[in-house]
Symmetry: C2
Amino acid sequence: MSFKITILGSSSALPSFKKFPSAHVINIHERFFLVDCGEGTQIRIRQFKIKTSKINHIFITHLHGDHFFGIFGLISSFNLLGRKNDLHIYSPGDLEKMVYTVLKKNDLNFKLFFHRLSTDKKETVYESKSIKISCFPLNHRIETYGYLFEEKKKEKNIRKEAIQKYNLTIKDIIKIKTGDDLILEDGKTLSNKNLTLPEQKTRSYAYCSDTAFEPKIIPYIKGVNLLYHEATFTKDLKETAQITKHSTASDAAKIASKAKAEKLIIGHFSSRYKDETIILSEAKTIFTDTQIAEDGVTFTIPIQHIKE
Amino acid sequence: MSFKITILGSSSALPSFKKFPSAHVINIHERFFLVDCGEGTQIRIRQFKIKTSKINHIFITHLHGDHFFGIFGLISSFNLLGRKNDLHIYSPGDLEKMVYTVLKKNDLNFKLFFHRLSTDKKETVYESKSIKISCFPLNHRIETYGYLFEEKKKEKNIRKEAIQKYNLTIKDIIKIKTGDDLILEDGKTLSNKNLTLPEQKTRSYAYCSDTAFEPKIIPYIKGVNLLYHEATFTKDLKETAQITKHSTASDAAKIASKAKAEKLIIGHFSSRYKDETIILSEAKTIFTDTQIAEDGVTFTIPIQHIKE
């Protein structure tokens, strides 16, 4: 069961050939979710061989150009490639108006659904049997949301040999799957642990860009496996960060630390930094397990089992 | 005096990492003109080290996304980089509405001027002392214009030694510059040829994309030094070309041949062609001096003198 994040673009407002503007693709159980869609996202998608037909949901954080100018080309190319599936787009602001001013609705061979976000707390925006995606407000110059991608807790898997050995009925199985022990005819109790496979921990990924240092988001992303947090500046430009409502590397690392994230990815660096190791070092002094978001790199969240 | 064309993007509707969507930059005498502005143009501009501050005029052929979706990011980045100079955008259709729906007019620190094209013949759209740029209608599914970039005929340059030798007055010089011979006091005539430097031919570049085979454009681009003409298909897909109002490689070569162009560049190939030499070969059988437009390649039109 895959849980992988591929960085399609990692630049801040001024992209380069090496760093395209913001876009990540999240593969959860072979369903692909796109978060942000900067200019050139469709080029990166093709370059990194992402299966476009599997992208049915696009989550835009905010309507600054470096986070959504790729949406027009992506939709056009989906259409050209014969897409028929519905496409859902989640965003604050009136992205629908922008899209339908630039593209002709009647030219599209598939349905677009715009979900306009407007909330001051964490809210579920997408839910399937096994996946939940929520948005939560960030603190930027315009209305901006972060996203949390989570696996949902699965039912317990029963050990195959137990079914035969104890001649389990459907009723028994349902009860065991919910965590019950099994009481045998002779009155003996078999513990649930011996009847079921080790449980997998649910995995999660949070995407926080663009935002000033904002401790309010900590409860929303508590214990996340992988946190992407913007780090536009180093701490010597703390004031610039505050004025522009961006974060420093230290800010990002503090959020990761306070949220008890397992791992941190930082990106969206100001184009003034030629040597990015300075930004990385700053974050690492506060949160050791930090890496830089680089276009084309895939981060995998491995399956972990709950220790009993 | 430079006259150079750099291909920023050469793909048709579906771009790739190797081929970005349509955009050429034309450097005439160190003034830079952009024609078309597909998605990612700003990335290519930065990659190929084009001086953005020198781009004050952008010419859009038509409002299909692969020819203008880069305009939003380009304008945003110009703004971010502190641009103050006016920017002129020439285009059919209501590009102004699109730009101001996607970008906030008040956020811009420089003035944008939209020049909406609407003509059924060749028309001058820009003119300076030494450069003239015209648009002319192409034949595509929507309103589309080609562009012709021309040097204007310069005054003749007088040989420095002649000024001293014959003690030329300002009046003499003005007359000689217009082509007159000089009549000396003793009644002898000095031919203009001996008083002036060899004249330079005016150079020109035509950009024709997207269009079906359209002989009407031939008089507009007659004798052009360098012709870019789209060649989306090979001749076996002539019908597809006709239906979609695109050209085959043969069509492009025929136009180059009939217009007596010196050199032809073809591009905008359908992404179905993995081996582009097939398209090139087809064009070359009709027009020998043909080359493929490849992202990053610069074509220089050399200075030529008029033979006397």
